[in-house]
Symmetry: C5
Subunit: 324 residues, 5 copies
């Protein structure tokens, strides 16, 4: 994939030109236009060129190169620097995180993608079909991409909720197993990671929608409230799933103990049943000279029969008291 995914100038909501990197500073002189450039894992050299064209702050560019940042929003001088974590489900149901960085300035927005994530070409296309909204400037572009990123979290969190339901089924319907415990642990781990990616979003959106931030027009601010709401909901879903998961872990534990108890009882019950014939047999195996029963003609069948009857009685007794 090429490093510069797309680079265009927009005026009054319409794409006016595809721009070469070197010509950007020319276009920036015209305040009625803004430049939207999308990069994918840019090399240090490319980033430096971008920095020079747009006049970005050293520390922000350093961050944009290094990736592995926490989601955050920062003002370096005049330009806004935002880091978000993107999320994606691999076909084999693993969660993959990426990062997207934004530089928003007087009339430009630079979007830098890192790691596995869906490209924002679709967002660009959709924006270009809504010139009245795109005309609100780079603030709307920021909104459109952030909205896209946050919406990607919903399927992931729903997948995690499904995973919880699977665990519930296993915990309450099947025998306790090592595997269920491991799945609980794994789900907890995933939840923690999603939480870590989402929860700073709440604060970021809050600042975008409440505070006066240059280059983000007041009429775009209500839109960020929308993202804020989504972030809150995702956060709540994660917290909810986490709390239920903890309870599931406890319930699982109780059920293991109940299962253990059942085992012990069953064992005790059968041991008692088997103890009867063993004891009887032992008694009539004694070598006393004078044991009248041994001489009886029907001694053997009587004893075997009685033993059997006692065993059956004991069995039903345990059945009724719930031990078997």
């Amino acid at each position: 994939m090429k490093e510069i995914v797309n680079c265009a100038a927009y005026s009054a909501g319409h794409r006016t030109a595809d721009v070469e990197l070197n010509d950007i500073h020319e276009i920036l002189k015209d305040p009625s236009q803004f430049v939207w450039i999308g990069l994918y894992e840019p090399s240090e050299e490319l980033l430096q060129r971008v920095q020079n064209e747009f006049g970005l702050h050293d520390l922000a560019v350093e961050d944009a190169h290094r990736a592995h940042q926490r989601p955050k929003i920062e003002l370096y001088g005049d330009s806004l620097f935002i880091v978000l974590r993107t999320v994606q489900m691999t076909p084999d149901c693993h969660i993959q995180f990426g990062e997207t960085h934004f530089f928003v300035g007087s009339n430009f927005i630079v979007v830098v993608r890192h790691g596995s994530s869906v490209p924002y070409t679709d967002v660009r296309v959709r924006c270009e079909t809504m010139p009245e909204l795109l005309g609100k400037g780079q603030g709307f572009v920021l909104y459109a991409i952030m909205d896209f990123i946050v919406d990607m979290y919903f399927p992931v969190v729903q997948e995690l909720e499904v995973a919880l339901e699977n665990i519930e089924d296993k915990v309450f319907k099947e025998n306790p197993s090592r595997k269920t415990t491991e799945q609980i642990y794994q789900l907890k781990k995933d939840l923690l990671e999603v939480k870590r990616a989402v929860s700073p979003l709440i604060d970021i959106c809050n600042r975008l929608m409440r505070f006066d931030i240059k280059y983000i027009s007041p009429e775009t601010q209500p839109y960020f409230r929308d993202i804020y709401d989504h972030a809150l909901r995702i956060n709540e879903m994660v917290d909810n799933t986490r709390e239920l998961l903890n309870t599931a872990l406890d319930a699982n534990f109780s059920l293991i103990s109940i299962s253990q108890n059942d085992t012990s009882r069953k064992f005790a019950g059968w041991a008692a049943i088997i103890a009867v014939p063993t004891m009887v047999a032992g008694f009539y195996g004694m070598n006393f000279k004078f044991m009248p029963e041994l001489e009886w003609a029907y001694g053997y069948p009587i004893v075997v029969g009685l033993t059997f009857i006692i065993c059956v009685t004991v069995y039903y007794f345990f059945r009724r008291s719930g031990w078997l």
Copy 2:
């Protein structure tokens, strides 16, 4: 059920006219009147017409159509947008949630119901019998419906408290069972959902009763304090039930262990009692040439008798020490 449940104009607390949707903008011109319209799961098309008549904000209307929102309060330009979650107990004791959205403007209130919920016709009727209160404007209508919604939570939470009491009875009076554990889990889940629906209410009421909000007259504000109080109480009841439920889960677990312990002790006790005759029988089953007891005329009954006495002694010993 039709989409437009009711649509009427009110003046000085009295219903002045039933209004057609298309005539609304006419009526809105008269500041001494206000329009109260009730919708049920409106189609996108209807919502758009309503939006045009009242001049509602795009984002709010989008929310009102999509449903599945978090309870929230928002100001879009001049008009207030409120989302609440309604609750209902199905006849077979399941909790069902619905949603109600409010748009409150200069002289109108639009109420949009989603999902399973009791219609607000009763509230309208009751309001119309209190013209002096209804005369306070759309703010009072908002209060009346919110109060109705919040009051619906009380029977649900009481049902959950009853569920907790049932669980307590099962935990402390019956043997530990898989089913009790599952019920605990289920109750926890219900509590979490109710909590999620109720807790944002506290903040919503707080803002309605404290901040200066256009179109809600200061004399209606104390009424929201009433709802605030109810929301606080429901919230507290839920938290309380939750905390007790956690303790019940722990107690349940302790009791499972105690029960397990009892099983082991009982088993050990009976095993000891049975070990006596088994051992004795084994001894007199040995084939030594010279075992004087075997020759005795009363050897057999004496041994059997002694064994029985020892067993009874052991039994009483275990009884006294609490193992049987």
Copy 3:
């Protein structure tokens, strides 16, 4: 018990007259006097008369009639409305809650008691013996009754602390039992209820002592600090007991497991000891033609003796290793 417990006018700290309900508005005209009226579970009709005499707010009166409120403080227009929960220990050691509502206005204080609670006649008598303090107005009356209510919590919380000590004794000194677990649960429940009644008190006192509240003279404010302090202490005692109780629950659980472990070890130890003679007896019960030991004259006593010695050895071995 009659509904109007007491109704008197005070001037400069001295009781000036017993007042009929209908004459109150006359007295209220004289700003140098204030009326202190005590009601017990008043009927709706009586409350309405009181409301008319004092000019109380609808919502507050509604609350005062319904009872089952959360402790709270509210300003309705000019008059202050306070709800407190009172507590009492029944002779058989159950906690009983009641409610007391206060209306404090320009020159009156209305005290409404609900449910089981000690009457405030003693407080009135004590106040009347301190005219210089009672002269500070209805604010001091409010303080005196609140102080009395809060002081009633101390014996209750101390009773709960004693209950915890009993549980500790049972957990650490006796065998784990179902009953102890149930007592732990019950104590937790009581603590939660006391907590719920006490913790809003902190906020109420805080507002009474810090904010400027009409009809409460600044010189009475430090007195509320005293109640604030007591509420804090009760709250702290409850939290402390709760935390210890949680630890006791955990400790109880550990001890159940240790006890289970002891049972298993003891059982295993004795099973091993009994296995010795059983095995020996089995061996000499075999029917081989040529088993020299069987022919020996002292074979039997020797084998029995040796078996006994082995058993004793095994016993001491297990003793030393702590299994028996």
Copy 4:
């Protein structure tokens, strides 16, 4: 011990005179002097005389007499009232709490000790050797004693940390025992009490070092930052120990279960080994007419030998799989 431990006037950092209680109001007239009086569990009568001499507030004096207060700082009119809890280790390692109350006014400081605590004579002596610091007034005296009190917490908390280490040793190195569990509980109890005594200190110091408090000169304020720091550290040490203790409780519990598991496995292993000869012996104890092995000359030794070999094999099998 006498009630008035010490009573002296200081001027410019030097002790100018020992003062009789009745002469204090004379000295207080001279603003260049301040009086430092130390009391030990004063009688109500003495306290009243002190109150009159210094003009202290009723509620504060009442508190000072009653003791059993929470640590707090309060302003009654002009004078500052502070309650602290002191701590001490008895020779047999029990924690003993005492209380010290301070009244700080325009030119006096009254220090009232309650319960077991080291007297502050040493602090006085040390202060008198630093006239340049003592010259900063009663604020410095307050600092000096508070510092002394807070420093007394360090050895106590260190003792508790040692107790935790002992518990760790017992949990991880020894067999689980009822006593360890009881010690964990006891330590938790001690930690809670120390926490309760220390944590209000943070707020007290914070107010002393940040807010403008009359009679405490701005140049003494940085000194309270020092105490603040110590209080924070003690608090942190207690929290840390508490968190570790909770983990130790959990770990203890896991180890009890592992130990239980070991017992079960060992028992099962030995039971299997013993089952072999028992079964064999049983078989050759059968009375069939035609059992060729019984007739063999070496049948007995061969069977015994084979049985022994099987037992040893089984033993090594269990050894390898970790059951024995």
Copy 5:
């Protein structure tokens, strides 16, 4: 190692001279220069000389001498005093903490190292290669060393994350063991200590980057945001690891119980299998006169054969139901 590691004067980002301690006050007179002095565990005497040269506050110097401080930032008069905890991994994977104290004044920075920590010579060298940054004054030196200290935490925390992964492997892949439990406890302990060292850093950086602090130029403030970010991340990593560790402890516990359950079932299964031949043998060991089977020629092989078949059947039965 000598006490004074390095002492130099800088002007406009360039080292101008190595300075003797006694000449410092001369250099401090020139506001265009600043002095950077590095000490290692200085003696009290040396610290006093440094204090005199730079005019440091008594309390700060006392702290700097005593070490064992909490990380903190304080303003004593004009000069800033900062305490940080440094961290290091010993070759045998133990965490070692040290302390570094900073005094920042009008034109000096004093850096005092205590305990095991890497010297800051490298930082000095690196700074001297960036004169344009070093020219921003002592604020940049503070940043450079703080950044170096915070970066040292990353490998340590990563080591702890690896330790968690090891524990996960052991918990989920191996049999539960006492050692794993002990490792969990040890890791918890390490995490708590790192947390204690890192979390105050967030507040320190926050104050350095937000508030107006003398001697730290506004253009160096964004750099502290960088450290702030790192501290946040380390803190988050630690919290995450801690939460996972708690879950691992719970999971471990569940697995111990499952393992216990397996043991019981296996034991019960085998006991049942062995009970069959034992019972059969017992029966045919009875001494009844008339037991036809005993007389049969093929009685013995038939019985042995049948017994064997039953045992195998029982075995497969248990296999299928998951007990063996």
